[in-house]
């Protein structure tokens, strides 16, 4: 049995199954992070001060507690990884598998850099005893960035699959493989997109 439109797009909708599926998934992810951001808005409007009392100090600005330079670096890292991701797709579209490997490798590496920086940031907070239970600002910070971090890990796993075992498909069905990379890219860019909102709203405001 063969499922129609796994590779070629359906003429009247113009997309293939996997692409539609991923966009639907992303729509639900929008609502997931939307729910979390709503929680943030709701708690923040209700809070008499923000970020408020952390470790016995009353803070005025989030940037006094969080490490903005590190987060800026991480923003750049994620944006860079989005570029390498899209380049890895473009390389396949230009039939350059060697360059695909290169760009995909860079995407994975940048993903890891992001995580390492994040871990460093968390470690710094923990060492001051700044835990999620401290106050709602830190709770929001840890839960939102933590869930985002899980998404990054998921993305890295997907990318590693396509870097190594999944890449065999390039030989048997290059067109489908190129589609798959485009779709993995959609997810990866979405993770980047979430960070683009997380960064200013949590670190800078």
């Amino acid at each position: 049995m063969q499922i129609p439109f796994t590779v070629a797009p359906r003429p009247d909708t113009g997309v293939n199954n996997a692409k539609l599926g991923v966009w639907l998934f992303l729509a639900s992810e929008v609502m997931l992070f939307g729910g979390l951001f709503s929680a943030y808005i709701f708690l923040r409007i209700g809070a008499p001060e923000w970020p408020g009392m952390v470790g016995g100090h009353a803070y005025e600005r989030a940037s006094d507690i969080l490490n903005v330079p590190l987060a800026t670096l991480n923003t750049m890292v994620l944006i860079g990884s989005s570029v390498t991701m899209v380049m890895s797709w473009a390389s396949l579209a230009m039939q350059r598998f060697d360059r695909y490997r290169l760009y995909m490798g860079a995407t994975i590496a940048l993903g890891f850099v992001f995580l390492v920086v994040k871990a460093f940031e968390y470690g710094e907070k923990f060492s001051h005893g700044y835990l999620p239970a401290e106050n709602n600002f830190l709770a929001i910070y840890f839960v939102l960035t933590g869930l985002h971090g899980l998404h990054v890990i998921g993305g890295i796993l997907v990318n590693m699959y396509f870097m190594w075992p999944g890449a065999r498909m390039w030989k048997t069905d290059p067109k489908r493989f190129t589609n798959r990379i485009e779709i993995a890219g959609l997810y990866w860019h979405f993770v980047d997109l979430v960070w683009i909102f997380l960064f200013p709203t949590i670190y800078l405001l």
Partner: protein, 107 residues
């Protein structure tokens, strides 16, 4: 962008666009951070930060995620989820203000 036939020429054009988008994203990130250090009052800071973030997100979605040339059905889906998201934010915020007492973000 449908999956059929990308000529190499086309892709090369795309790549130039990607590089341009990359540069814009980097610049906008720097701008956000700099504005952050200006310590503006809350309302303008919020507006600037969200505007910049929206522009950045728009760039990523439009070019990296190919929404500029994507099929109608996908664009519909994106608008649908964004619409619901906005409705949710809006209703929750108004809910709070409407209870009386609390101001929103000092407005």
């Amino acid at each position: 962008m449908s999956d059929t036939g990308h000529s190499i020429e086309e892709i090369k054009k795309h790549v130039r666009v990607y590089m341009f988008v990359f540069a814009s994203l980097a610049v906008l990130t720097v701008v956000t951070v700099v504005v952050g250090y200006l310590e503006l009052p809350f309302a303008p800071a919020l507006i600037v930060a969200l505007l910049i973030a929206t522009v950045k997100a728009g760039l990523v979605a439009a070019y990296f995620m190919h929404l500029v040339s994507e099929e109608q059905i996908v664009r519909w889906l994106v608008w649908l989820s964004l619409g619901l998201l906005l409705a949710m934010f809006l209703i929750l915020s108004v809910y709070y203000v409407d209870q009386g007492g609390t101001e929103i973000f000092g407005f």
